[in-house]
Amino acid sequence: MKSKIKKIFLISLLAMLALMFIYPFFWMIGGTLKPEIEVMNFSPFGSSWSLDSYRIMLGKIPLFRALFNSIIVSLVSTFSVLVLSSMTGYALARLRFRGRSLIFNVILFTMVLPFQLTLIPLYVLMVKFGWVDSYAALIIPYTMSAFAILLFRQFFMQIPNDLIDAARIDGLSELGILFRIFWPLSKPALITVGIIHFMGIWNEALWPMIVVRKLSMMTMPQMVALYAVGGQAESQVGTQLAAATLMSLPIIIIYLVLQRHFIASMATSGLKG
């Protein structure tokens, strides 16, 4: 009897905590559908429903163009991080060559440098290359990730050596071993890196603001930030929330689709969020 009460208590406590986390999100979605005057009310439900906030917002800014840019930038960058970082991770974990540990330490070192520190030199580079206001500036600094290299290296080191030898005898090249043997065995690492990197670059607002000024090259977070704080929303909170909702939508969809894998990979890749 006692344990049952304890169980009910625990469950309701957890439910309340979950509600606390999810509430602002519901409130945001509710806010986009309510009449403007009721936006600031505590309840997410309004007296009537309309999509006016979305209509107004879309009329003011080219959000679909920004959505397109964000998708291109995030997809290309994530794909490139998966390919290039796993290649680097493979070399660091599995190949013997001069300077391997030095290279590994340099990569580790870049992880502790705050992005703010490299921001200005990187910007100067972009200007020198003539990449300002282009996809190159948005994507190329994000084609590799030290964190991803580290994760892949750790993961690859657990794969038994004999498997590589067997593959070499069977006739695979090093790249063949990586993509045809290691990749299928590293789904948890690939998914973890993929989601974490995709979320990171999708939400990145600072860097685009520095290298992009043209409206047609802006990404979602940049556009939303500009719109929300930049005066264009004319302090209509509903439309600001609508922009934010559209921005978070793709991440939510991806998360829901990959949720099962994601939780499993967090467990097996030794990363607990």
Binding site: D162, D165, A166, R168, I169, D170, L172, L185
Partner: protein, 352 residues
């Protein structure tokens, strides 16, 4: 079908630290050769150099008369079976077998025929759709054998393929690999640290220690005429007994031991030697060597008796069930034609 020739092979992983030294060996076409030695003696290293998985520091390797030093593993026409199977976990058994053939651009039909044939020989036909993790250790090792035979290679390399199996399965697989060798007649190089495996499987055995060959010969040769004390103690179970002593007037003299070798003219007086005698060549309750029983281990058909002669501990394998009391005094006789002598200075055998 091919010969394998290893010529003055040296290997150092770390500069100037040789783990394989001046390794010279000619392996005949169709031969089953076993490399055996204690852990860390360089067996795997040699095998991996033949496979092309490890660079050769110095020397030459020929397969089928062709120098292969600079060929990658896939072009050496060899197949290898590993201790922990090394099957691709994400492919089913069929794909595991077919993978190497597919990479070599065989037609789908040819691949199918070869996979089915190998599956037949090894009786793994009913597992073809299963993933490796759904199989037992023995079944996995059979699949690994299958992956080697579909390729129809010139040379098979085995690196302790049975070490992960339980004792019973090991005996069974041992016979199966031998049978496979009889059917295929392909050159096989087999690495093990288990001297029983070596004795039962090899046409010839190569005994290694610290990266050097200690003896090469048929199982009977290395058993009956060990080239040095190491081989004597490594081959055979329980190991050969050794007693240190000295030669005087054609007799072997040691504390508590005095054996007339009937070789007065052939043995130099004062030569320091080790006398080697196998546990099964010692008779109890006869002769004149006095010993004290330390412990007896009845094994059913045989009894292992540990005794002390002077300062030397000696093991006897007595071919029937006998229980002796600890501390009991018994007499022993060494079968005179089974005695081996090794020069203490050179570790070379001394003719009697």
């Amino acid at each position: 079908m091919a010969t394998v020739r290893l010529q003055k092979i040296n290997k150092a992983y770390i500069k100037d630290q040789l783990v394989v030294k001046n390794f010279d060996l000619d392996i005949n076409d169709g031969e089953f050769i076993v490399l055996v030695g204690p852990s860390g003696c360089g067996k795997s290293t040699i095998l991996r150099m033949i496979a092309g998985l490890e660079e050769i520091t110095d020397g030459k390797i020929f397969i089928d008369g062709k120098l292969v030093n600079n060929l990658p593993p896939k072009d050496r026409d060899i197949a290898m079976v590993f201790q922990n199977y090394a099957l691709y976990p994400h492919m089913n058994v069929y794909k595991n077998l077919a993978f190497g053939l597919k990479l070599r651009k065989y037609s789908t039909q040819e691949i199918d025929e070869r996979v089915k044939r190998a599956a037949n020989i090894l009786e793994i036909g009913k597992y073809l759709e299963k993933k490796p993790k759904e199989l037992s250790g023995g079944e996995r090792q059979r699949v690994a054998l299958g992956r080697a035979i579909v390729r129809n290679p010139k040379v098979f390399l085995f690196d302790e393929p049975l070490s992960n199996l339980d004792a019973k399965l090991r005996v069974q697989m041992r016979a199966e690999i031998k049978k496979l060798h009889r059917e295929l007649r392909t050159t096989m190089i087999y690495v093990t640290h288990d001297q029983i495996e070596a004795m039962t499987m090899g046409d010839r055995i190569v005994i290694l220690k610290d990266g050097e060959i200690k003896q090469v010969g048929s199982p009977m040769e290395v058993y009956q005429r060990p080239a040095n004390k190491f081989v004597g103690s490594f081959i055979g179970s329980p190991a050969m007994n050794f007693i240190d002593g000295i030669i005087k007037n054609g007799e072997f003299i040691a504390p508590g031991v005095n054996i007339d070798l009937n070789a007065k003219d052939r043995l130099t007086d004062g030569l320091e030697v080790s006398l080697g005698i196998r546990p099964e060549n010692i008779a109890i309750n006869q002769g004149n060597i006095e010993a004290i029983v330390i412990v007896t281990e009845p094994l059913g058909s045989d009894t292992i008796i540990h005794v002390q002669i002077g300062k030397a501990s000696i093991v006897i394998k007595h071919p029937s069930l006998t229980i002796l009391q600890t501390g009991e005094k018994i007499t022993l006789q060494f079968e005179s034609d089974k005695i081996a002598l090794f020069d203490k200075a050179t570790d070379e055998p001394v003719d009697i």
